[in-house]
């Protein structure tokens, strides 16, 4: 592998890792702060992708506006969902959480099938991001992929600022470490959880919307994302945003270079990484830090 190819592969790895981070950050927030194992998180990713498919004809080239509208819709959806379903789950066992969130996956898949059908659909790339630039002799790299990476970096920075620099972030961190204490200080933990959950759903949906023009929308697209996101959350340390970022990039690199160098074993590469990290640090890389 020459240097140019190596650099392109690094770019691929970072880009994949960043997109993973966007989905996984929502999962780690909900899991770490609220203690709910949310198997339906992949469905929120799917929801975002189908939202992009549904909204694209109305917004045309106003891609940013569309993302904003989609984020608001999905946050609202998450808010209601927490109210109706998840708020009853905090005191229950993990098994019951798993059962209910699994049921939600089935419900979402069936709803998707009834509303949109089972065909694969493409989502158009906004025309101002449609081109590509040359990279190496034969290959070109689409501007849209670069845009997706930039959007993910911006979001990661924003998320970091909210969690570490704002009052809301302080409450979230406090709620994660001691629920009872926060409540006795007069903070409405119920509302706090509702906001965190809505934010988590919005993050996953946003990732789905950003990924949609690259990946198209198709049945079951949430499933594979969910598994890899759990891997990221476990490697990074449950509840840690920074951990999720580091783990996403690690997974991106292992997956990308695994495919190139060890094609036969590439399916187990990231799981091997997870096993090694768990042996080395059973709590994940950054457990207990935001």
């Amino acid at each position: 592998m020459d240097l140019a190819t190596f650099l392109v592969q690094c770019l691929n790895a970072v880009q994949y890792g960043l997109l993973l981070f966007l989905v996984a950050s929502g999962l780690t927030l909900i899991f770490g702060i609220m203690g709910v194992i949310n198997l339906a998180h992949g469905s929120f990713y799917m929801l975002g992708a189908y939202l992009a498919f549904a909204l694209a004809p109305y917004f045309g080239d106003h891609f940013g506006t569309m993302l904003l509208a989609g984020v608001m819709l999905s946050a609202l959806f998450g808010f209601v969902l927490e109210w109706v379903f998840f708020s009853f789950l905090y005191q229950r066992e993990h098994l019951q959480q798993v059962l209910m969130t699994y049921a939600l996956i089935l419900v979402f898949e069936e709803l998707r099938s009834m509303l949109v059908g089972n065909d694969v659909h493409g989502v158009p790339t906004p025309s101002w991001l449609a081109g590509s630039f040359a990279l190496g002799e034969l290959m070109s790299y689409p501007w849209y992929r670069l845009f997706a990476s930039a959007a993910c970096i911006a979001l990661a920075a924003g998320l970091y600022a909210v969690v570490n620099r704002t009052r809301l972030g302080m409450m979230i961190r406090a709620g994660a470490s001691n629920r009872e204490m926060v409540r006795s200080l007069g903070i409405d933990i119920q509302l706090l959880y509702r906001i965190v959950f809505a934010g988590g759903v919005a993050l996953a949906a946003l990732a789905g919307m950003i990924a949609a023009p690259m990946s198209s929308v198709y049945p079951g697209m949430g499933g594979s994302v969910l598994i890899i996101c759990f891997v990221v959350v476990v490697i990074g340390g449950i509840g840690s945003i920074t951990g999720a970022l580091v783990a996403s990039l690690l997974v991106g690199f292992v997956d990308t270079f695994g495919k190139v160098f060890f094609a036969e074993l590439s399916g187990i590469g990231v799981y091997l990484l997870m096993a090694i990290v768990l042996v080395w640090r059973p709590e994940g890389l950054m457990r207990g830090r935001a």
Binding site: A13, N118, D119, V120, H121, A134, Y141, F257
Partner: protein
């Protein structure tokens, strides 16, 4: 009162006996197809195709009425054995028809072998079904994964490609298709430089596309289906590779996915045993009556279902409707020439269609017929001992 009911029973018995004389009880056909999930549409197409042929024959095959039973296989291999036993033991079907998913079809073939029930496979392409798993009571109306792959290998060699790379998911269907391609290509003097694989159903192709760009082969052969096919074709074009390195694949790369693939799939060459616009009187008539009956356009799956019914009809006719003569039925299906909308085909001793494979070009929303690549291509049926 008692006498009246006895009389009625006697009358009913007479009527039943009369019906028996006219051709016996109905033939029970058990559809084991996906009616939910990703492949639901395919399952319906196959069933509609099958029913259309039976309807055209006046509701009878081999002189006997046909009765249908349905089980949803959910494309779930872990439930396949239970599902197929429901049809064989609970519903006591005479003929099994199914299915789309290869893993499920392999379980059906195993059950059919053990129970001796007739099995007609209207889609699943696993080579093993007409290879090591073959049996006199098992035939397929679709294709083996090897067939379109081999034909594309022939095309790639004819077009002068010497060094080709292949890419697919790391699973049986992909490996079988690539093996067929490699054989076709090597026969024409080409060579596969490298086989790229990624785990199913992973769709992160970017790393492997970069690898292709670094290796600069003459052409690329890809086996993907559904959402993966859409994403691969789009990513390939977005990476600019389609301008310098031609992409080839079996029909699954562009079948039912052209709308989602948009401009990135236009002009793609694929091989399959059917093309959307085959302009033959047989195909036109079939498509017309299918559209009339079901208010939708026929596709390759409808053809495969239709031909499954034709095969059963040929078998039953030879046995004069006597289902106990399984040997006669099995042999007759292998002797039949099926007048399919895809063109006439026969069945190999192993039970797989011996059929023409077409080169098609993606234009608009159709995979248009370009030429016949191989006439009467027969699967090698490796491992089949009859």
């Amino acid at each position: 009162m008692k006498i009246v009911s006895k009389l009625a029973a006697a009358a009913a018995l007479c009527a039943a006996a009369a019906a028996h004389a006219q051709g016996g009880a109905p033939v029970k056909v058990g559809f084991m197809l996906p009616y939910t999930g990703t492949y639901a549409a395919l399952g319906n197409m196959i069933e509609n195709g099958f029913r259309l042929y039976v309807q055209e024959q006046g509701g009878k095959l081999g002189g006997r009425e046909v009765q249908f039973v349905k089980v949803d296989d959910e494309s779930e291999p872990s439930k396949a054995t239970d599902n197929v036993n429901k049809l064989i033991k609970r519903d006591t079907v005479d003929v099994l028809v199914g299915t789309v998913h290869s893993g499920v079809a392999l379980a059906m073939a195993k059950a059919a072998k053990e129970s001796g029930t007739l099995l007609i496979i209207p889609n699943a392409g696993a080579d093993a079904i007409t290879g090591p798993m073959c049996g006199n009571n098992i035939v397929r109306s679709s294709f083996s994964n090897w067939q379109p792959g081999y034909a594309m290998g022939v095309v790639a060699a004819q077009r002068g490609h010497k060094r080709v790379m292949t890419i697919t998911w790391n699973y049986a269907a992909g490996a079988e298709s690539v093996k067929g391609f490699t054989e076709g290509l090597e026969k024409g003097g080409g060579k596969v430089a490298k086989d790229l694989t990624l785990p199913f159903p992973n769709v992160e192709f970017q790393a492997l596309l970069t690898e292709i760009a670094a290796q600069k082969p003459d052409a690329v052969y890809a086996f993907f289906a559904g959402g993966g096919a859409v994403k691969f074709v789009k990513d390939y074009a977005a990476a600019g590779l389609n301008k310098t390195i031609p992409l080839y694949g079996p029909g699954f790369l562009t079948d039912g996915t052209l709308e989602a693939q948009g401009s990135s799939a236009q002009g793609l060459l694929t091989t399959l045993h059917y093309a959307d616009n085959l302009d033959t009187p047989r195909n036109n008539a079939f498509r017309k009556s299918f559209a009339l009956a079901y208010k939708q356009n026929a596709d390759v799956y409808a053809v495969q279902g239709y031909d499954a019914a034709q095969l059963l009809g040929a078998g039953l006719a030879a046995a004069k409707g006597d289902l106990s003569k399984k040997d006669v039925i099995g042999a007759a299906m292998r002797k039949a020439t099926v007048d399919s909308p895809r063109g006439k085909f026969t069945i190999s001793p192993a039970g797989n269609p011996v059929q023409d494979i077409y080169l098609r070009e993606a234009k608009g929303l159709n995979n248009e017929f370009k030429s016949v690549v191989v006439k009467a291509l027969s699967d090698p049926a490796r491992g089949c001992k009859m």
